[in-house]
Symmetry: C2
Subunit: 337 residues, 2 copies
DNA sequence: AGCTCTCATTGGAGCGCTCTATTGTGCCCG
DNA sequence: CGGGCACAATAGAGCGCTCCAATGAGAGCT
């Protein structure tokens, strides 16, 4: 910076002003500085800037699972919103199924990001609270107190799935749950409550948000005497893996078993999959999370929870438990196949 | 840090040594410092550290497209290898289909990362060269000179696909290409060379690496009088979208048209998809890229290109061009739909 | 002309850390 | 018993930037 100042024949402070795009610099000097910087190949040092500034104008985002495509849409919207507010995004992942989430968070704390956004956190409430004491934290998809939360109404999502299946006439429904995954417990609760409310039999098979879980759950179910006529999976990935295994066992979806997923990822929308699923407004979630972080940085002190509403996307993996008239397929787009 | 030093009754320099895990500190003092730091909730400031240190011990990774699941495996291996060498990873994405890639790169340059890894770059060679002058750059999947490159032998990949299809008896093959995408041109070249070498007809339909491309390419092909009997898609996503559209048009895969993808993502491995595809050794790519960056940081000056070898994974979307006995479906699960 | 006012420009302190050289302390060995 | 030695600990000078208060130069007004 000193070199640039010398080259342009101005002071170091003036160069600083130009680099930050300050309006209180005369055009003449600005051009001289810009030219000198270009000539010398000067690029400001972010570390030094951050050290001298109070704010870093950076949001740290920790992604729970890079393999889960669900996050990309949220991130897109998050990025657009953050950029509009003059924030930069820095990403990190909770590598190895969340094992390194604390490390990722601590790294960002050391970087003094203005706020932290956790995209699907698996941290213990205690650990989270400790981190939140150091830096504003927005958890996406969590259900914790003491930090900002943006989440889908997953309980309602579970209910939507059950209501749909009950309407179709199902009376015995299984749920493959998401274990520790974000929102999994709420989906399960919605499932169980709705099943109870409608007086249908239910069973919950433990799992996580992985493909393996979907397959294993089906194997588990196949060992029983009576198979449920419908399955509500913790997410689309699990649902697809479940369908996969069901078909491998010679069962037809939805004729023998209906399957409903969760997340409405593009995977569900593929015609080869064409999965009935609960849709989360992902872009809205990203946008709200960015605004939320923004407000925290701007001074709001009390944590807030934003709940966005899911809806059901009915596709071809759900149908009535049995076909009343064998010749008539109830499947919406069954005729096309 | 001064506070911690005072609290522990030592000098600031000693606290610094403890925070960096130096072995030349007596256990007694170390414990005193650690205790004091914990009591005060002290956390070192990364910006200050980076400013004072020469190296940042950080690799910047720019991901071309977060929606493409291909990257996650590469990143996992990259992370493991980088961490083993004492490096931290910082991620950023080239949001909006690569439009912000330069921004992402410049951000990392300002952060003074030790090296930059571009996961699928679409930068112009000139821009890339300019960046490479400032910081070691490893491009994954590119084909540029002047920087380190780790890439799959995509030309060979294209050849593998064609050889497989020719062996099955196809004589008119289409390629849906990946446009500007990483490796797309090499796949096309391999495709064209192999088609020429085997004397089969070929056609290339322009596109990119997106789902939309797959669908549009099929619509384009359907307008022609003669449909190719096999299609080699630029990647799995395109292939799946293509299959989708083919089936929507009443065509059967592979009975009427064979489809081969590229990348062997988990999407291809799903049984509902079960796609024949060219496999890239993703984890190896990640590992090599990390080592490559490491070597550059350690002083190697001349750029190197590492080429890893692909192989073909044959699944159920490829078969002979016509079914000899009309009653026999060649597709494993064809009878279910 | 003389004075104030405004605004572009500047000097210098300081952000929180690391690093080099230096001081201090106890120990071994001739 | 004293000189050297190894090693723990420290002081102080930056790293490259921003920010604040202060300076200088015109412009406007009486």
């Amino acid at each position: 910076m000193d070199d640039v100042a010398a080259e342009a024949g101005v002071s170091r402070a003036l160069v600083s002003l130009v680099m930050r795009g300050s309006p209180k610099v005369s055009d003449q000097r600005r051009e001289a500085v810009v030219a000198a910087a270009a000539r010398l190949g000067y690029r400001p040092n972010a570390a030094a800037r951050r050290l001298a500034e109070r704010r870093s104008n950076t949001l740290g985002v920790v992604i729970d699972d890079l393999h889960n495509t669900y996050h990309a849409d949220v991130l897109d919207a998050l990025h657009v919103e953050a950029e509009a507010n003059g924030f930069r995004l820095l990403l990190n992942a909770a590598w190895l199924r969340g094992r390194n989430e604390s490390q990722a968070v601590e790294m960002f704390l050391e970087y003094r990001v203005d706020a932290l956004i956790l995209l699907g956190s698996r941290l213990e409430p205690d650990a989270l609270a400790a981190f939140a004491a150091e830096c504003p934290i927005v958890v996406i998809g969590g259900e914790v107190s003491g930090v900002d939360v943006v989440r889908n109404d997953d309980k309602r999502g579970g209910e939507l799935a059950v209501e749909h299946l009950v309407e179709l006439g199902h009376t015995y429904i299984a749920h493959i749950d998401g274990g520790e995954g974000a929102g999994a417990d709420r989906r399960r609760r919605g499932f169980l409550d709705a099943c109870a409310a409608h007086g249908v039999r239910s069973v919950v098979i433990p799992g996580d948000f992985s493909e393996e879980t979907g397959a294993e759950a089906i194997e588990h179910l196949l060992r029983d005497d009576e198979l449920p006529t419908a399955i509500f999976a913790a997410n689309d990935l699990v649902a697809v893996a479940a369908i996969d295994r069901l078909e491998a066992a010679g069962l037809k979806v939805p004729d023998d078993v209906s399957v409903v997923g969760y997340d409405n990822t593009w995977l569900a929308a593929l015609r080869t999959v064409d999965l009935t699923t609960v849709n989360q407004p992902r872009r809205e979630i990203g946008r709200v999370a960015a605004r939320c972080a923004q407000q925290r940085v701007d001074g709001r002190s009390s944590p807030v929870t934003h709940v966005v509403t899911p809806d059901l996307v009915v596709r071809s993996t759900s149908g009535p438990p049995s076909v009343p008239l064998p010749e008539v397929s109830r499947r919406v787009r069954g005729g096309q196949r």
